[in-house]
């Protein structure tokens, strides 16, 4: 210890001064500095002291150690994360770095392990630690259920992770989809009704009941029911569910280049249509909906005579 004191006195430069000088250099060169830059700036500084200062800065998270083609590079960490990283060890920093590099697409734990070359148990411990410090977050990716990806806490996950407009906190927003489904239908239905009421020729009526996907998109946007921006593709996805609901039909027509809503010279037209049948007779009886239909047998435990669905239906 006394040895160190002597050196300190002899160099007339204390550790704190060296640290602040290095930080100043880093601020001057935001892309990072090499060891040589520090050497040139403080030629009298002993390598041992230089290393001490750099290590100190690295350990408190004020400095980043990067590797590029020309060797190692020191760079200033941005103030916020540096202060957050206070008290973290090197391994933690390494993992943090790997996650930061992954951006808003995130990275899953196996890849972190691979890139950091740390044992899995260690990685998991660190991830937990970082999560509890709210430095990173785990995000369920919609691409594969059960697969979690990690990204920096303040990042907005990429669409490929969230699944786009239909996901909130990586949960599929069924209700949102159904609301949009209903709203789109309402729009097309009122259009069809207006067309019918116009009492024009049948062809004109049919044609005026059509709406392009662009029109539907515009209507939904103007309704302002969506917190997120919906694309025309999003709306077409919803319109397709209406087709599978049997409530809407779609026709593709050729469109002039540049027509609003046309894609590749084609335009999709949608219109609300009526059901072709009323609910069929079978589903007007309890048997048509019966969950134990196959187990029902006269004289059996479940039978028409003792059927409670039948009783409820008869007394309704």
């Amino acid at each position: 210890m006394s040895d160190v004191t002597v050196k300190k006195e002899g160099s007339a430069m204390d550790l704190a001064e060296v640290e602040s000088r290095i930080k100043a250099l880093c601020l001057q060169f935001p892309h990072g500095i090499t060891d040589a830059v520090i050497q040139n700036d403080m030629p009298h500084l002993e390598p041992q002291q230089r290393a001490l200062a750099i290590n100190k800065l690295l350990s408190v998270g004020q400095l980043d150690l990067l590797r590029n083609s020309s060797g190692l590079l020191y760079r200033m960490k941005d103030g916020q994360s540096a202060s957050k990283m206070k008290g973290s060890d090197n391994q933690e920093k390494l993992v943090y770095q790997v996650i930061e590099d992954a951006g808003n697409k995130g990275i899953w734990s196996r890849d972190i392990r691979f890139k950091s070359n740390l044992p899995l148990t260690e990685v998991n411990k660190i991830l937990k630690n970082l999560e509890s410090k709210k430095l990173i977050k785990a995000v369920k990716s919609v691409a594969a259920s059960k697969k979690k990806v990690y990204m920096l806490y303040n990042l907005q996950p990429d669409r490929s992770v969230t699944g786009g407009a239909w996901y909130s906190d990586q949960d599929f927003e069924s209700e949102f989809v159904e609301v949009l489904n209903q709203q789109c239908f309402k729009f097309l239905q009122s259009k069809a009704e207006a067309a019918r009421d116009s009492k024009q020729s049948p062809m004109v009526q049919r044609n005026s009941s059509f709406a392009t996907s662009h029109e539907v998109w515009k209507y939904i946007c103007e309704l302002g029911i969506s917190k997120v921006d919906l694309s025309m593709d999003d709306i077409e996805t919803i319109l397709n569910t209406l087709i599978y609901d049997g409530k809407v039909e779609m026709t593709v027509i050729a469109a002039k280049e540049g027509t609003v809503g046309s894609v590749d010279g084609q335009m999709k037209l949608y219109r609300g249509v009526n059901a072709v049948l009323l609910p069929t007779g079978l589903v007007r009886t309890p048997c048509g909906l019966c969950p134990v239909f196959d187990d029902c047998q006269e004289g059996g435990e479940i039978s028409p005579s003792n059927c409670i669905y039948m009783t409820e239906w008869l007394d309704f």
Binding site: L278, P279, G281, V283, R284, T285, P286, G288, L289, C290, P291, V292, F293, D294, E301, I302, C307, I308, Y309, W313
Partner: protein, 215 residues
């Protein structure tokens, strides 16, 4: 057809490969299912209108009428559903006068009721002058009977039942007789004798007159 494909066992392949694990199966998850599990959906109300009401009335009327027509055959005269007692009281008369005389041209002759006493002498005569064809038929019959009678222990029971049954139907048979006496007797020798022969063979007693002894 229906009834197949319930539960996991019904699939020929590993259903868990679909992500339908045992634990996640709807039925497994509910635990012990009640006899009548709750249903999420209720039947759509029946269609209701003039047309439906009219067809309902037609259906019920048709059923009522059919049950009173002679086409509705009662096993025993007194076995008729008691609940129909009053209906019978009210309506039987009007249905009696249309009592059913089938058009035998459209029916196999073998289905005609057997003759009652009125016809008896005719038959006796016939039995005496047995033709060659008839006697052949009779022999075949005999063979068949031998085969048949083995292992027919229900015979006596049947007969008791038959007799009971006949009491209630005599009226009808007599009416039918009026018809067949005239034209069918001669025309359809072969089919008729199919029964007659057997009957005569059965010992010719009065008990066997409606051919029951044959079986």
């Amino acid at each position: 057809m229906a009834g197949k494909g319930r539960g996991v066992g019904a699939f020929t392949f590993n259903i868990e490969a679909l992500g339908i694990g045992r634990g996640s199966m709807p039925e497994a998850r509910a635990g012990p299912t009640p006899l009548f599990p709750n249903t999420e959906f209720k039947p759509v109300p029946l269609k209701d209108g003039e047309e439906e009401d009219y067809m309902l009335a037609l259906k019920q009327e048709m059923r009522g009428t059919m049950q009173r027509l002679p086409h509705n055959i009662k096993a025993h005269a007194n076995k008729a559903e008691v609940e129909r007692y009053t209906e019978r009281y009210l309506k039987q008369k009007q249905l009696d006068d249309t009592n059913w005389i089938p058009d035998w041209n459209f029916l196999p002759k073998e289905l005609m009721p057997q003759k009652k006493k009125v016809v008896k002498p005719v038959k006796k005569k016939k039995a005496v002058k047995i033709s060659r064809k008839e006697s052949d038929a009779m022999l075949t019959k005999l063979d068949e009977l031998e085969k048949k009678d083995d292992g027919n222990p229900e015979k006596s029971d049947d007969e008791a039942e038959k007799k009971k049954g006949n009491e209630g139907e005599e009226e009808e048979e007599i009416e039918a007789e009026e018809y067949d006496e005239e034209d069918v007797e001669e025309e359809n020798d072969y089919i008729d004798s199919y029964f007659d022969n057997g009957e005569d063979f059965g010992a010719g007693s009065d008990e066997n007159i409606d051919g029951e002894g044959t079986y």
